[in-house]
């Protein structure tokens, strides 16, 4: 039989009488609160795992249906994989870091981005450098995602490894361009 403590007063009596008869050291509230918290954690984990399994809400590589500040590409879901991270970080010295205005780099400098306001938008130019990158990623579809969720529409690098895209010129995009990931389509 499963007791329903909340709706059956009889069971409350069982609970309280059970506790009342416990040894003194077990009447302490702390271990019970710790126990209740542990139950919160393990039941929460079990339920979340179940939800993830059944509704497949786990993060996948497919384009999300919505973001807070950006718009995901429409149409057929495209599979992307994150390959590069660009930052506005310029050379770090022992004392300070500097942010280079209007430029983005990968750490190895093989991808460079420059952005500037253009007719109410931010125009971002990206350039792949070196034969290895050009031969692998030239002509491929890509997508840019800022750390704060702002996301570009899908765009294509041309065979020379160049791409241009327009982003909204707003505070969220300006902030988000502090750190972005460049995802290439696997399709």
């Amino acid at each position: 039989m499963i007791y329903d403590i909340m709706s059956h007063p009889d069971n409350l009596i069982k609970v309280t009488s059970g506790i009342a008869s416990l040894p003194m050291e077990l009447k302490d509230k702390k271990p019970w609160r710790d126990f209740a918290h542990t139950v919160e954690v393990i039941t929460g984990s079990a339920l979340a795992e179940h939800e993830r399994h059944t509704s497949k809400v786990a993060a996948t590589e497919t384009v999300p249906s919505a973001t807070r500040t950006g718009r995901a590409g429409g149409g057929k879901p495209r599979h992307y994989v994150t390959l590069f991270e660009l930052e506005r970080l310029a050379a770090a010295s022992a004392e300070e870091l500097s942010v280079r205005k209007g430029e983005l780099y990968t750490r190895d400098g093989n991808i460079v981005g420059k952005f500037a306001p253009n007719d109410g938008h931010l125009r971002l130019s990206l350039q792949l450098k070196g034969y290895a990158l050009l031969s692998t990623y030239g002509g491929r579809m890509a997508r840019l995602t800022c750390f704060n969720g702002v996301q570009s529409d899908s765009f294509r690098f041309d065979e020379r490894g160049s791409a241009e895209l327009e982003l909204p010129d707003d505070a969220a995009t300006q902030e988000g361009l502090g750190r972005v990931t460049l995802d290439f389509s696997e399709d």
């Binding site: 039989m1 499963i2 007791y3 329903d4 403590i5 909340m6 069971n11 069982k14 609970v15 309280t16 009488s17 059970g18 009342a20 416990l22 077990l26 009447k27 702390k30 271990p31 019970w32 609160r33 710790d34 126990f35 209740a36 918290h37 542990t38 919160e40 954690v41 393990i42 039941t43 929460g44 984990s45 079990a46 339920l47 979340a48 795992e49 179940h50 939800e51 399994h53 059944t54 786990a58 993060a59 999300p64 249906s65 919505a66 807070r68 390959l83 590069f84 991270e85 930052e87 970080l89 010295s93 004392e95 300070e96 870091l97 750490r107 190895d108 995602t145 704060n148 969720g149 990931t181």
Partner: protein, 412 residues
Amino acid sequence: MPNAAKILHTLAAHLTFLLDEGKDGVVLEPWKIEATVLQTLSGSQYRRLVGAGLADPDTNAQDAAVSYFSAVFERRLWLKGAEPTHKGHELFLALCCRGAAEGWECVALNRKREVGSMACNRTSVPEGKDMWRAGSSLPSIADDFAAIALRLTQIDGAISPGNPAKNTRQRSGPLFLVVGEMNAEVAEELTIWQAICCAPLRIRKLENKATFDQLCSLVIKVLEAANRPFGELVGLGLWPPHWIDVLSLHAIREARKFVACVKRLLGPEAGGLGSLSIWRKAWEQQKVPSFGTVDEFWNSDLGSALRSPHIYRHIETKSIDEIQSEEQSECYEPQMCDGQEFEARVALLRNSRSIDDFDAMILTAIREGDAIRNLWLRLEVQGRFKQPADLAEYVEALGQRIAEAVRRFDDL
């Protein structure tokens, strides 16, 4: 129907899974985490948590989820009393400790007036020797730290009026993320979202179920702290985005107690929050300190909103004792209990017939990490539940029953 606390615990576990997603290691990609959290929050089971029923008629589940994300995940967290850090800082530290680059295991959050031999700069990072080749090897700790330090400098470091951090800072100095000689100042009011966005991009997987549960415990605590004003407003039947910047947590709670008092005076059959005369009676027992008189409260925007029939339908019925009990429980920070202690408590509950043998078996199994779908495959479980979803509902109810039972123990 699960209560809001239970829904929040499940959301916390979702977030913990997202902070541990990957086969060999974890790449923390905030946009993916955000998209998944928003997708989760848009689900029907989270409507109550995000207050979807309270919103304007044209607000859909996705909009409510976005509002919740902004109000809770991006809520500026405050220090509690004289404590040097808050749960958002602890989450940030827990993620940094798992940084994949060698050296992150020594990371700490310290308050210092002076950092090493250097003056107290906001950031001090030696130049890294190793370069991080995209898509291949790991960054060095210096590279990793430099990127994090930069992200930290982009956070607003202001301290809100009334935040104890101002005194703590005067007494003990600013808060720094420290690894060896590298240090970077950490914002006092770091949000959950900033804690995730500022963590190392590549982190190690959690080692086992116990370490997962420890992180989940921390995520529950930080989400509870960040959710508090939002959750209290939902309990009062108010659409949080309209009120969260107007009312303090204290004012919301006092209003909740007053409403509980009015409802008690009116009795269960009442269809609204009564008349000014009832409010005057309630005022004698339970004032709302933000307002000088009951008439002032009655005529205020808040008073008018609470009298609206639409809002009355959504007011969560709680007694003043229950609200006070919740407030008191916030003063105590629970810890995870170990396996032996857990089993001892389960046995005590079973002996007192608060739970039966089946409940005890399920509790032990999920503590050991059995997934609901696997647990359902057991013969004795299949005999009771037609499908795994029924078992999930039972687990949810079992968690609530135990929480309720322990709350009653507290009142003894």
